[in-house]
């Protein structure tokens, strides 16, 4: 089978590590587990986590998939996002289903950054409604504890799936 596009990525010894454009060279889960009460606001942050990018901006992109578990209804729409510190690039392609009853309110989505250099980066999850409305939030509790507000609950943790892919 022919490989249509290649990008030679080599280590210091000159060995080819991964050549396929779009190939994943690093995959990891970033976790945030503390139970946190979330107050309504015109904007706010849920948590921040850090990772290390292996290659330069010209060599690789970063894909991040969000799996953020909340509970308790507050706002049906509140502009959830992921942002990488210093990138000037906040991404709102993350959504949640508003459920006013007993169910969860998970935030789920995918971001794609193409201009990040090698080294450490911090991802922040938060919310910021488009109209600046105050008192908003996607939910009232992040990472419910076991039995919190509902005896059936297990402990929840929020995770981001981070993939670095070759350009």
């Amino acid at each position: 089978m022919a490989i249509l596009a290649q990008s030679d990525i080599r280590n210091n010894s000159g060995d080819v590590i991964y050549r396929n454009v779009g190939g994943i060279i690093r995959m990891q889960i970033l976790e945030h587990s503390p139970n946190t009460s979330i107050s309504g606001s015109a904007n706010g942050t849920l948590f921040s986590v850090s990772f290390t990018k292996l290659l330069s901006a010209s060599e690789s992109n970063i894909i991040v998939e969000s799996h953020i578990w909340g509970h308790g209804a507050n706002s049906g729409v509140s502009g959830p996002y992921l942002e990488i510190s210093g990138s000037g690039n906040r991404d709102y392609n993350h959504t949640y289903q508003y459920e006013g009853g007993q169910g969860n309110t998970p935030i789920h989505g995918m971001s794609w950054w193409t201009t990040l250099g090698a080294g450490s980066h911090t991802i922040t999850a938060g919310w910021s409604p488009n109209n600046g409305s105050s008192g908003e939030s996607p939910f009232t509790t992040l990472n419910t504890n076991q039995g919190q507000s509902d005896s059936r609950y297990r402990k929840h943790v929020s995770r981001l799936l981070v993939m670095e892919v070759v350009k």
């Binding site: 690093r26 459920e99 169910g103 297990r154």
Partner: protein
């Protein structure tokens, strides 16, 4: 430049250059046969087996789950992942609940385990309510065409497993 590149040896004795986070193996499990579920204090959606290539000092597993569910029952039942029969209750796998009969209520999330050895690993997606009560997320997994709503198309479930360099 790759930071911190290391090597592993595959089954044929070849040396593979990797770095932390490199994917050593990938397998995807899929099924779309409709399954009727019953309320339980100890339920299992699906069990799959993944043959891990390396020991826990070399690699770990990342699992991503999406189970198609329809016809709501309870809004909360204590979901999680079970590794070789051990239930991980500190978890990221649960379901979205819409309190309407015809809505989809998919189970989804991601998990990782860094303590598994080489060889077959049994991975199960389960619900075990913390209070021991009898519960059920939805009546049907992989709902078939027309199930509960004439508009519905059959929808399948996926479990993806990556073996990743530690």
């Amino acid at each position: 430049m790759i930071l911190g590149a290391t090597t592993v040896t595959d089954n044929s004795g070849k040396t593979v250059l990797t770095t932390s986070g490199s994917i050593l193996k990938y397998e995807e499990f899929y099924r779309n046969n409709e399954i009727a579920l019953s309320s339980s204090s100890n339920g299992t959606h699906w069990t799959v087996t993944f043959n891990k290539l390396y020991n826990s000092s070399t690699s770990y597993l990342i699992v991503k789950v999406k189970l198609a569910m329809a016809m709501r029952y309870n809004g909360n039942c204590g979901h999680g992942i079970s590794w070789n029969g051990s239930f991980d209750s500190n978890q990221n796998i649960d379901y979205r609940f819409d309190n309407l009969d015809y809505s989809d209520n998919p189970v989804f999330g991601i998990a990782e385990n860094k303590s598994l050895g080489v060889g077959n690993q049994t991975i199960a997606i389960r619900w075990i309510p913390a209070d021991g009560g009898s519960n059920l997320p939805s009546y049907y997994e992989n709902p078939g065409n027309g199930r509960g709503d004439g508009r519905r198309r059959n929808n399948g479930s996926v479990i993806q497993v990556w073996e990743v360099k530690l």
